[in-house]
Assembly symmetry: D2
Homo-oligomer: 339 residues x 4
């Protein structure tokens, strides 16, 4: 295959960004079609990217002549869309998380394994970020000894709260652990090759009481115990005044790694009456520009070269199972064992 | 009282540092006597500070003509020494924590309340540190809104592990939560005026298996749930390669505070083939020089002016009770309710 | 014009990078041809980018059917190539500096003004960098008051010295001030709208005595006095152990701006026995990825929309004149007046 | 000598701070007397430190029974006071700079050399600062190779401008180079063991036009050329919005050192809608607390042990000569040779 023809399902902020990258930066790919329910989004995409538009994803899969599907729809639709696409013989790139319900996701995993001639890739894009990649290398080379403790923050800026509230009123976001912390769950498993055995979680809405009405926690904290008593704390939130704080700290027996302890936006530092000031990144899209690009590129090359993705569907199932255990623990306020 | 005559019990690293500060920097005080079991320590102190020396603390209290006692002995001795001193009519400054057993500590508290004509002050010195003080002011002024989550690190450098192991073999340190995290427990209560209701803790010895033999955890992580679902994570440890990391982060609904996210030792930055490098602080004594000084000064002025300490014995009892619950949770691997 | 057809002259590191960006990222452009003397470079470009190749730039301009030329050849060739292209009716993007000799450059400027129907754009790409752009905005809004002093570093890493030495043996680099500091000269003029009136410069080869043989200074420092006694210090060099340090500090009467005081490579911070470490950027290409992209995009859009570039040829002439005065001062060790 | 009896001349901000340190922190010293013209200052000192007070420094030297004098008067008085004290057989600690006029200072130096049985120490306190000391060690051990370039900032906060203006209206401060940059001149000579041969300086009053009336430059920039073409830039100023910026950068052929690139006040970092903020140090007294203490301690021990100071009077003469050349260059706008 010289050029991979793709169709994108979902044109929200991330779907639009993926489409733009595929059209303008990624090689060996041709975006033939996009699918969305929102007519304005479709019009914008048609005009900007010169692509065919669909409101019915099945039609797009069946009729647009594509080789692969990029699924960026709300999470609840991931399983059925993935299965439909695979059955139609299309390669699939699917945003994280795999889905919202474990049963559905396990069926989805079976379908993926049945179609092992097709590439399936899950959007754990942080694995492609230069800083996280360098951490992986350091850890694998025992550069910080054995891992003792990991702390992970996934906290969105206050400025994004309104649009999230709207989204989560109309859709099931999965909740703070499934929606936000799942990236870190994947990274911890990737870095340590270990599984958590028990979790206790707590959620609160001190900063955003309105989220209680839609069954969301603004802040969620999960404490995970691993096989060898290694420990991890996940902090998910939607209320950082300064910006988008996606931070990870890995404490080893012989050194620590911190990634993004301060999400500085650019190279400018201001010295004023307020002291020393640095602007911060406001969106994950800005923070992970390079990772999103390399991830999409990796998928297109995998399809082109008929190679399996390095991120397996089992990684996705496992991460969801852990995230759901975090959620359950917070809802029921009890220690949960993870099998 | 113009000059407060004091005696110091305990001449380990901290006892010696306190004595030196009292002799050289603190005003309105005269160190008349010191007490220790180690003859070398006593000789050094006698020569350096021109003080009388005792091996029996009761004799020192009864015979040396002092007004106040500074107790820097191993924690297990704090209750009996405090009670003996109070009954002899002496003001007492006592290092944290109050003691190791709750029963003893409660009796100690009763004794302190009976002698409310005497000053009793507990060594929660971080309350005197300029950075922690500024945080208190910001929080009280709602500078970061409502507190959502607090993370606290108390992690000693690897370089101190050998001497700690020796100490903890001969003495009961109280364990990682009672010995290290108790400072942060006090600060969290001070900042938020709230009490935790539940805790789950995990300990491990991945970095220092030898600590298992003396019933110590090298790393301990406690997750605390508070009345209003505010959450705190305490991380205590003894294995930081780079230095002494005593860090606290307070996430509010409208801003965050971080104290000491990087324990830089001085103002020097090195640019070399390794990139950019900063040396780190290696000891809490170095980090908290100013706090230790202001704390001792505060005690001497309290005695001189016959004013009660701002840190009550109940703060000490409550912090110990919480630290013990953390310990129990880690030992029994279960959620513990705190009353 | 829907698609701008371009040819690139020069396929060194920067020429190759420009070509790649034009092929993969920049919209509305088609790279039809490239020109170089090195056959390996031409082969690589032909294979990678599917472009026609030339060894004679005049032939490429005359025969390849392009609308615009991107000149990335050694500086000495800029004037004649620009003039030839303009006379052939082609738009020109030319790397900084305009040229090496003021006479040639003035003739070049005349030619550019005669062909004011064609777009001419000079590669002062830092004007497109997000941090420098934000500084411009702050300065224009009087966010730091009046400018008092500016310090500018343009210092390459040690790792690049060998390849520079080879290049400067075969070509006239223009010297440290013309080659390196010219960016900062342009930025200072852009930020302050002021002209220097006098300069004193000093050069040395303490770190790289071998550069003396090819009449280069490894380090050059120029002190510039401006109309209103505003002052600037330019530091150019080729011997930073840690990486590529392109830094600027602008002191205003009511605040300061620093850009890139530490050229951190990514978001990863390492805590080890060495203290706290950050890796640094090693190349200007890495540092200015975004600026190079936006600059090329700006040129293509200018051509497409038939709009003049915001960077005038006079900016280029003026910057060269100042850089040459810096050079002359260092060579003759005397104060030089600038008209 | 067991206890060194001292008298302090001058009770401005620094004189008072020195007195307080001598009374409260420094060992082996007894402050017997202080001398000032301001009655309020004298009253305050008498009450706070229990010392005898004088308005005539000669009387204090002759009658108060002191062994040593601490001279913290305006610079113009340093030479005569030093000579009077030495002739009266007193050891002398004298604040920098030695004086304002080279002739006077050379006579002063002769007098000091004639009285080589008495300790004379000059207040170049930065040599005692931990960060500058560590830099000295690194440089001496060739940790950054050969020194290529040094940049030194001595810039006071805006908040100090009013009191400086008042002071400099009543007294001759010596000007920005003699008053502020002389510390850095000393440090550069100390680090490199080299002498400057030529200087060009520029001054301006863009930020504080009122200083022109009292013949002061608000900002002064001096560029120094050294024997081996090593280069230094000195920037003195009185108008930093954020705080007290005393910074030094030493570029070596194999690494760089930066001291105090950001004068952070404490360990607290604030994350708010403004981004990331750090408070800054506002006074040199706060910044150099440790250096001032160690310097005074060093002097008292030198007197006690009858040992010469490590900072020679010739260091002071040389630094003044260089600072005066900087001043002359700025006033006459010409290159000045330094012999």
């Amino acid at each position: 295959m010289d050029i991979v023809n793709v169709g994108v399902i979902g044109l929200g902020r991330l779907g639009m960004a993926h489409t733009e990258k595929l059209v303008t930066i990624i090689s060996d790919v041709n975006v033939k079609a996009v699918c969305a329910l929102d007519i304005e989004q479709l019009d914008y995409a048609a005009k900007t990217f010169s692509v065919d538009t669909y409101t019915d994803y099945k039609k797009m899969i069946d009729q647009s002549g594509i080789d692969a599907v990029i699924i960026v729809s709300p999470t609840g639709f991931h399983p059925e869309m993935t299965r439909y696409a695979l059955e139609a013989g299309k390669h699939v790139f699917c945003e994280k998380p795999l889905g919202l319900e474990l049963d559905e996701v396990k069926e989805m995993a079976e379908s993926i394994k049945e179609h092992d001639d097709l590439v399936f890739q899950l959007g754990f894009m942080r694995r492609f970020d230069q800083s996280y990649l360098r951490a992986k290398e350091i850890i694998d080379n025992k550069g910080i000894g054995e891992v003792i403790y990991i702390r992970a923050y996934g906290i969105d800026p206050i400025s994004g709260l309104e649009s999230f509230t709207k989204f989560a009123t109309d859709n099931d976001s999965g909740g703070i652990f499934v929606d936000m912390c799942i990236h870190d769950i994947d990274l911890i498993r990737w870095y340590t090759q270990m599984e958590p055995t028990e979790v206790w979680s707590i959620g609160n809405n001190i900063a955003a009481p309105q989220l209680k009405e839609i069954n969301e926690f603004e802040t969620g904290v999960a404490t995970l115990k691993f096989e060898n008593n290694m420990i991890a704390t996940l902090i998910g939130g939607r209320h950082a005044a300064h910006g988008n704080q996606v931070e990870m700290e890995i404490m080893g027996s012989n050194g620590w790694i911190r990634i993004a302890q301060e999400p500085k936006k650019d190279f400018l530092t201001l010295f004023t009456h307020n002291g020393i000031e640095n602007n911060c990144l406001q969106s994950f899209a800005e923070r992970f520009e390079q990772a999103f690009r390399d991830e999409l590129n990796d998928f297109i090359q995998n399809v082109k070269n008929n190679e399996p993705s390095s991120i397996s569907v089992d990684d996705g199932v496992r991460a969801l199972l852990i995230a759901k255990a975090c959620k359950e623990s917070a809802e029921q306020n009890r220690l949960i064992k993870i099998n």
